[in-house]
Symmetry: C2
Subunit: 303 residues, 2 copies
Amino acid sequence: MAIVGFGKIARDQHVAAIAATPGIELAAIASRNAELEGVAHFTTLEELLSQAPEIEAVALCTPPQVRQAQALAALRAGKHVLLEKPPGATVSEIAPLIAASRLTGKTLYATWHSRHAPAVEPARAFLAGCDIRSVRIDWKEDVRVWHPGQGWIWEPGGLGVFDPGINALSILTRIMPRPVFLTRADLAFPSNRAAPIAANLDFTDETGVLIRAEFDFRQTGDQTWDIRVETSKGTLTLSSGGAKLFHDGQPMVDEVEAEYPALYQRFVELVGQGASDVDLTPLVHVADAFMIGRRDVVEPFDD
Amino acid sequence: MAIVGFGKIARDQHVAAIAATPGIELAAIASRNAELEGVAHFTTLEELLSQAPEIEAVALCTPPQVRQAQALAALRAGKHVLLEKPPGATVSEIAPLIAASRLTGKTLYATWHSRHAPAVEPARAFLAGCDIRSVRIDWKEDVRVWHPGQGWIWEPGGLGVFDPGINALSILTRIMPRPVFLTRADLAFPSNRAAPIAANLDFTDETGVLIRAEFDFRQTGDQTWDIRVETSKGTLTLSSGGAKLFHDGQPMVDEVEAEYPALYQRFVELVGQGASDVDLTPLVHVADAFMIGRRDVVEPFDD
C-alpha cells in the first residue's frame, strides 16, 4: 500500500503501524516534498496511480480540504482507501465516495483512531449496563506543540480546535448507548483566523442527560484529554485520550496505547471481507456545532 | 390534526392547505398567544397532548430551535408528526425522532415545501436525460418583507439567509441526477447578528459540474428565486421558486402554485401507508456551509 500526504501524522504513526500489521506493506509514498528512504516516491497521487499499478491500497493523510478528489480518483483506479480523520471537509462529499466504493467493490474506511484506544470498548460495555447521569469532556491541548506550523488547520474546513476535539466526539459517539445531539455551542475565533481556537458544547440524548464538552487549543503545561461519566454505578473516567480507564478511581485497563496498529488491523480485516466502514457521526456533530454555534472573537493567534 | 406554533407560515399556508386536503381536519391550535376562531386552543403542546387525546397528528410550525423536543413528545404520545422546514436546528437531533417514529409506528414527515412546486418533477425528469454543464441559483429576497420581526431567524440555529436558501437546496437536491457537495462557501454576517444575511456557495458533483448559488436577504424591488441549468439539450430555467419552468425560453409548465396542499396530500398518503419520509440532505448542505464557510462581517442589520 501507499501513504499519500507525508506530514506529521504519517511519519509519527502510519509508517510504524503499517510495518507492524501483517498483510500490508508500505510500498510507496506520494508527497510533493517529503520522501522516505527505501520506499518508492511519487510527487502526486496521479503519478502513483498511473506508474505503480501494483499498489492495492492508499492511506490518505493529506489535509481534509483536498482529500475527496484523491479518494474518488483512488477508488476509481481500483484501490482500497483508508481516510485519516476527519473523513472530509464536508459531510456531503462522502456520499459519492461511498457510491464509488460500492461500484468498484473496494474498501472505503473512514478511520477514527481514538476509537481504538484501549479504554473505549470496556467503557462502552460498562455504560451499556447502567444509567448515565452526566458526561464531562475536557479536551485541552497546546496547538503549538501538536500542530506546529500547520496553517491548513486555521483555514475554512480545517476545523481549528475541532481537529483534536473530533477525536473526543469519536469516542463519545462510540461509548454512549443512545445517539447524542448538540443543543448549544459557543465557539471562540481568534480575530485573525477562520477556525475556532476553543469551543464549549452541550449535548443531550433522548433521556435528557447533560453532556458538556470543553475543547481548548490554548492549554500549556499539562495536557488534558479526559472523559468523565457519572453513572448509577459510580464514576467512569477515560483519561489520556482513552489510554486509561478508571472506575471510582480504580484502574480498569492500563494497556499500552496502540491505536494505529489496531486501526490498520481493522483495515486489513475490512479488505479481507470486501466491506467498508464509514461512520460520519462525529463530523456531523462538528458541522452542527458550526451551524448553531454562537461566535465570540478572541485575541489573535500566531504560531 | 393540530398546528403547533401559529406564526406567519401557519396562517398563510397551513390552515388553507389542511382545509383543502381530504382525510384531515384542523381540530386544534397550540400557541402561546395566537388563536383561530372556531378551532380549539391550547397554550402549549403539553396541554394539547394531555387534554385532546382525539388529535391524531400535529404539524410543527414552531422555530427550529424548539422543535426537536416537541416532535419527540408528540411521537411518544402516539401522534403522527409533520415538520416544517428545516426539520431541525441540527442534523443530529433528527436521529432520535426517526428512532421514536419506528418504535411507535407513527409517521414522521420532514417536509420541503418547495419540492412540491410545479416545475420540480418535470425538471427532474428532463435533467435525468441530458448532460448537465452548469447550474446557477439566484435566491434573493427582502427579509423585511418575508420575515418581518422574526428575531429567531438571526439567532444561532435560525440560519439567516439559509432559511429561504434551503428551499433552493431542497429543489436542487431533488432535480439533480447525482449527489452534489459543497466545495466553497462565503458567508456575510451583519456585525450585529449571529446568522448570515448573504451567502455564495459553490457545489459540484462527481462529474465535476459547477453549481453556483447566491443567496441574499437584502434584495429590494423585484424578488428572485431562480435556478438555471445549462445542459446538452439547452437551458432549463425554474423561476418564481419553481412555479414556472422554461426550456430555452419556452414555457414547459405554468401551473398554479399549490405547494402546501400537495405537501399535506403527501402527509395523508404517508400516514395511510404507515411510512415516514425524512431526507436531511438540504440541511446537511447548510451545516457544511457553516463548517467550511469563509466569514465576512458586513454592515449591521436592523428590522
